[in-house]
Amino acid sequence: MEFVNTRKLQLQQQLQPPQQQQQHFHVLAVDDSVIDRKLLERLLRGSSCKVTCVDSGDKALKYLGLVDDLDDTTSSVSLETSSSSSPPPQPLEQEGIKVNLIMTDYCMPGMSGYDLLKRVKGSSWKDVPVVIMSSENVPSRISMCLEEGAEEFLLKPLQLSDLDKLQPYFVKSLDNTCENEPANSSIDSDNDDNVIIINNNSISKRKAISPEPHHERSRPKMKELAVV
């Protein structure tokens, strides 16, 4: 059944023009400030992303299906369930929810962005890049987040130029389907680099304090992918 679903997805994506496929890039935005959520939503929608906003880390976890309800297996119908100690089902197909990027505020009442980061990185969503945002430029905080697996640390307030830092992540990740698929649907032609389809975990880490250009991106290990 999983094969059927992904095959259908492939066909759908082939029929759609590249721009429309870009619209399927889905960002989960987590911020307790309504103003910042609005700003983030506008910035991301302007880059043709689909955005889901939640106002807390708890809601983010609920959305991702990571709440500590052990009996939360009703959704895993057509999935290959993992063996061993029943970790949560593959998030990519859990109830059709797919998240390509998580952007979270650091300072939030209740669960902080850092706590959320840890939870995500310790779950089956660990391959999804997480970007932390903060109004405070605290080097130790930044290192802590990067060490815990955050891909980026952005200073607030967010601006149009911050989208440049996020461009590499906006390449549509086809994940399981990309091995058999020609690399025709997710090329970011705005980049000077030869950008290719990248796995979620082959993105280099960058710090907010040193704005260097993105030429240190590692290439995926799959040979079938074409380089444009």
Partner: protein
């Protein structure tokens, strides 16, 4: 036609003055740049959210400082929120007062906090009134058939 041109000129001048006088900073420019045909009311929408948020927070701050035993952590949390939202819309003077306010909270300085609260209320009411004037002027230009381009 002259009427529109004059209105537009007044609008541009007024807009510029808000930046000159430090009420607004570059972040407000960012908001203006995000307004386009698909998001024609973006600035007003965001600013409205800010007004609502600020009203709520100032209420909370007033209440918190009126308590017999002041919870500085809670106070600081509210100020932090106001600091963040004012920064996000470019309300520079409000943002600056919030920074001092946070220092007062950290020092658990009641007098300082009371003074800062007064200052932030003052700055907020100023920028609110300025922004409302700005939006009104924009409406006038639009109503007269002119355009408000960024």
């Amino acid at each position: 036609m002259d009427g529109i041109v004059q209105l537009q000129r007044q609008l541009v001048d007024y807009n510029a003055s808000l930046f000159h006088e430090g009420f607004l900073d570059d972040q407000f420019n960012q908001l203006q740049q995000l307004q386009d045909e698909s998001n024609p009311d973006f600035v007003v929408e965001v600013v409205t959210l800010f007004f609502e948020d600020a009203d709520r927070l100032l209420n909370e701050l007033t209440k918190a400082l009126g308590q017999p035993s002041i919870d500085f952590k809670r106070l600081d949390a509210h100020v932090h929120q106001l600091k963040g939202s004012s920064s996000s819309i470019g309300a520079q003077r409000v943002h600056r007062v919030c920074i001092s306010f946070r220092n007062s909270c950290e020092e658990q300085n009641v007098e300082g906090c009371l003074k800062n609260l007064q200052q932030v209320k003052h700055e907020y009411s100023l920028v609110k009134s300025k922004l409302e004037t700005l939006f009104r002027m924009e409406q006038q230009v639009l109503a007269a058939g002119g355009s408000v381009s960024r």
